[in-house]
């Protein structure tokens, strides 16, 4: 029997990036807010001190900062005619847990989607016709908000993080050295780009020679000391090369810990309860209103936390699962195409090109999560897709995230994966190779979705989440196209001796690491028959329930999602503060 707790104005289920943003925004508006986080408290000097060894085995391969799958996992399959099995080890994506969520171990690659990404359906329909947006059982949709609506919230996140970069489009005027394809920015980046090491410099030179317009990757690894609008402070990045899968001890990586928590934890109207896992959103008998959440603490005690507003701010996969477990919204059925919860699950299509040099020392260990030069000519609809047989695209980047010796040793084509010959090639090439990433979109397809597993249950007896996902030919063709374009640039790099193309082929596999960019399942849209939430991330079915995160994406763009996740969270917070509190009820009339 759950213990009833005193009611609060808002409860947050999950305390990573979106939980911290909503907590800060709603506490500043005077609300009494409780956040529930299933994992532990973590802060910079206690958990990520600079004196700790950035041990690749511990953090990357033994998943020190990630979700413990012995405690909770999900089942996975590629197609509906297969039986999904619970995963005992995740490789493809690495789920976070604990205060700060996966935002603790991210690379801090901060992107804004293209204007055409937000209108993926209408834009591609108009340019390429009906077949282009319906091929491969595609179920893509537009984001229900415009560039002008979202831009101020992208800007808020950039200022929070101290994003380092160079504008390519300032209020409609194209700027030299930035990304000319980006939507108009209202302001220059808060900090200048990071200093570029040799590899990205050679890549940019080659890209320019090919007629492209390379630019520095926007990054939340700050290029200089920064104090954000909340007064929180970040130190200059040291280029240590341990961002993704690691915590940052230098206060250099934008995380909830470095940008929001010092401010939020001082608030007397904010309470955080860690090691408290939300089991279910409770609703009134008619299912029209959330009354609060039931959660269990680490002692196994259950509590009911009543709240006027319930916000799901866990990771996308948990948010979808909580919606399904709480029976809010109609679950998606891939056979009938009916229902919305779990629909349009998407991911990211990663390809790469390894570039080898004979006489150049690239020092790959000089790294940072988003230390790169990038070309965006083949992202979204920045190029003519006529006759290519796919829509979507991605950015191509020479990304110096680090020189981690297990994960990041590149050997040329034809070298075996182990043994003497591999050792010789690894030693030879460690300092003489770089990697070009092709970071591609994934469109939504009828057969890719999330639901509750009919067989497997977690330690609380709740059904696990089941993921059904595969790459379609749209994604594989797109990725091949990107890899070929990347190889063209690689071959133009000064001093190049060999190039190895790593195409994405066949079915998606959970084994090799690709990227933790899971999207969809609680998608946003214009009406309740085709979406779970409106443009303010408010549930169509339960108007005091808001669902944060990349679950809102109708399909995934060719960029890393966090910038857009944060912008949507700010957009939602803004609507809660300025519209919902004054007049509770649906913010969009269906």
């Amino acid at each position: 029997m759950a213990t009833n707790l005193p009611a609060v104005d808002a409860v947050l289920a999950g305390f990573g990036w979106t939980g911290a943003i909503l907590g800060q925004q709603l506490c500043d508006a005077g609300l009494n807010v409780v956040a529930l986080e299933r994992g532990a408290w973590r802060d910079t000097p206690t958990d990520f001190a600079t004196t700790f060894a950035q041990d690749e085995l511990r953090y990357m391969w033994r998943h020190h900062l990630f979700q413990n799958l012995a405690y909770d996992t999900l089942t996975i399959r590629n197609r509906t005619d297969q039986e999904a099995l619970p995963m005992r080890h995740l490789g493809s994506f690495l789920l976070g847990t604990g205060v700060g969520g996966a935002g603790v171990h991210w690379n801090a690659q901060i992107w804004r989607f293209l204007e055409s990404d937000l209108k993926a359906y209408t834009h591609n329909l108009q340019r390429y016709g009906k077949a282009a947006v319906s091929a491969y059982d595609m179920t893509i949709q537009d984001y229900p908000l415009s560039w002008d609506e979202i831009e101020p919230h992208y800007e808020a996140f950039d200022k929070l993080c101290g994003t380092s970069g160079r504008a390519g489009n300032l209020k409609g005027v194209i700027q030299d050295g930035g990304n000319p394809f980006e939507g108009p920015r209202s302001a220059e980046y808060p900090n200048p780009p990071m200093a570029m090491p040799y590899g990205p410099t050679l890549f940019a030179k080659a890209a320019r020679e090919k007629g492209y317009q390379p630019f520095p990757h926007p990054t939340g690894n700050v290029s200089r000391p920064y104090t954000n609008p909340l007064g929180a402070q970040l130190g200059q990045c040291t280029y240590c090369g341990f961002c993704e899968k690691f915590g940052c001890g230098n206060y250099s990586k934008a995380t909830a810990q470095t940008t929001i928590l010092p401010y939020l934890m001082m608030k007397t109207n904010f309470t955080l309860r860690t090691e408290s896992e939300v089991l279910k959103v409770e609703t009134t008998a008619d299912g029209k209103r959330a009354t609060g959440v039931t959660y269990v603490n680490s002692a196994g005690e259950e509590f009911f936390q009543p709240a006027q507003i319930v916000i799901l701010s866990a990771y996308v996969l948990q948010n979808v699962r909580l919606m399904l477990l709480s029976k809010i919204g109609k679950p998606y059925d891939p056979h009938s195409g009916e229902g919305v919860v779990g629909k349009n699950y998407a991911y990211q299509t990663m390809g790469s090109v390894n570039v080898f040099f004979e006489d150049k020392i690239m020092n790959p260990f000089i790294g940072a999560g988003a230390l790169a030069t990038v070309v965006d000519e083949f992202n979204g609809d920045n190029f003519d897709h006529t006759g290519l047989g796919f829509i979507g695209g991605g950015y191509i980047a020479q990304l110096h995230t680090g020189g981690r010796p297990i994960e990041m040793i590149y050997t040329p084509q034809g070298i075996p994966k182990w043994g003497t010959e591999w050792k010789r090639a690894a030693a030879r090439n460690y300092l003489r190779a770089v990697n070009i990433s092709c970071h591609g979109s994934v469109m939504a397809h009828r057969g890719n979705y999330l639901d509750l597993d009919p067989t497997y249950r977690d330690s609380f007896g709740r059904p696990m989440l089941r993921m059904t996902f595969d790459f379609s030919d749209n994604e594989l063709k797109m990725s091949r196209y990107l890899v070929d374009k990347a190889a063209d640039i690689a071959l133009a790099m000064e001093g190049v001796s060999a190039v190895k193309k790593n195409y994405r082929t066949g079915s998606w596999s959970v084994v090799p690491y690709q990227t933790t960019h899971n999207t969809g399942g609680t998608m946003m849209g214009d009406n309740p028959t085709q979406s779970v939430v409106n443009k303010y991330l408010q549930s169509w079915d339960v108007d005091n329930l808001f669902v944060m995160g990349s679950g809102a994406f109708p399909q995934n763009a060719g960029y890393n999602p966090t910038g857009t996740v944060a912008a949507l969270a700010y957009h939602s917070a803004d609507a809660i503060k300025n519209q919902y509190l004054k007049s509770p009820g649906p913010l969009v009339r269906a």
Partner: protein, 439 residues
Amino acid sequence: MARKVEIALGVGLIVALGVVGVEFLLLGDRAVAYTPMSATTLSVRALTQPIPDSVPNAQQVKLGQYLVRVGDCASCHTREGGAFLAGGLALSTPFGTIYSTNLTSDRHTGVGDWTPDEFYAALHEGAQVHGGALYPAMPYPYTTRVARADADAILAFLKTVAPVNERRSTNELTFPFSIRALVHGWNLLFFRPGEFKPDPGKTAAWNRGAYLVTGLGHCGACHTPKNSLAADRPSESLQGGTLDNWVAPDLTANTRTGLGSWSSDDIVEYLRTGRNARANAGGSMAEVVSYSTSLLTDADLHAIATYLKEQPARPDVKPNDPDAVAMQRGAAVFSDACTACHMEEGAGQVRIFPPLRADAVSQQPDPTGVLHIILAGDRTASTTTRPTPLSMPSFAWKLTDEQIADVATYARNSWGNRAQPVNAKQVSDMRSNLALTDH
């Protein structure tokens, strides 16, 4: 006995520091434990919450609230997990433990029954209501200068603080320190009750600064060197003190060890935000900034700066030359362990990670503070405008005594810095004083 009192005073401040030092850790407990808030958050709220005009004598109560900030009363009179000003903070000393008193409006255990005369006697004379002397862990040699009207205002505010019935634990002092009467002897030797006398030859700002610094603010309690019987050396006012494994730095016009090269604005920014282009507030000063100086008016901060800027420079003591080989070894350790934050040439990342070049703390004649920070780590004050408690980790487990001596010697004698070299024995002694495990 008096020496021991001095140490008791110092230890008390350090205990207070401990509260702020672990605050961010405790926030985790707070999170798990459901409601309790950190003492800092609660105290800052109580120290800043608006006093309604409907309160009788609202003006006096508002003034009293402000003066409780000035006096940094919350640091010692609030314990972690306890109510605001309910006392009970254990001031551990090698001679036993002194517990701070309950200042809430509780009639039985607090000051609810105190008359203004009784309260003034405590501040002015170090006298307790029910007879007997206060131990000078309470800085009455400073609060004696508090004006009667200000003392009355403080009491008026304390009487609005929610009553907490919490009897102070009995001090656990060993004989003969348990005999309160001995304090009378100390008072006879070193304590003269007195009022603040403005200097008509100085500006109003200087006089206000003098009143705050030498009175309720009790800066010299830490920053003035003590004689062998634990009393201030008046001729060395604010020249820096060493208290229980910390150095409270020189605040005089000395350009190397003091505030000689700081502008008034530098001082104001430091006191308001806990950091400036020259230094971050750490150690016990972090708590002083959180509970006190960050909550004061601009006018008072400027007054404090005006007064501090006119303190005659402490005389320089010529240090010995550092050993060249030790300096080389120190440079290597510095490059490996320090430059990620403090940068090449000790330039620092100003207002975030303090510069070590031309840094006063680094160049104090006594290396106690530097060694404490390297061994135990430190956190910058968390203030409302600059909340991040930027931290340096402990290097006790990572560097040997020799390495720490070398790097301290290097930082104290590079980039124009000049201070007495440090040897491994000093590091080893500090390590055992701080009860830190060996490398």
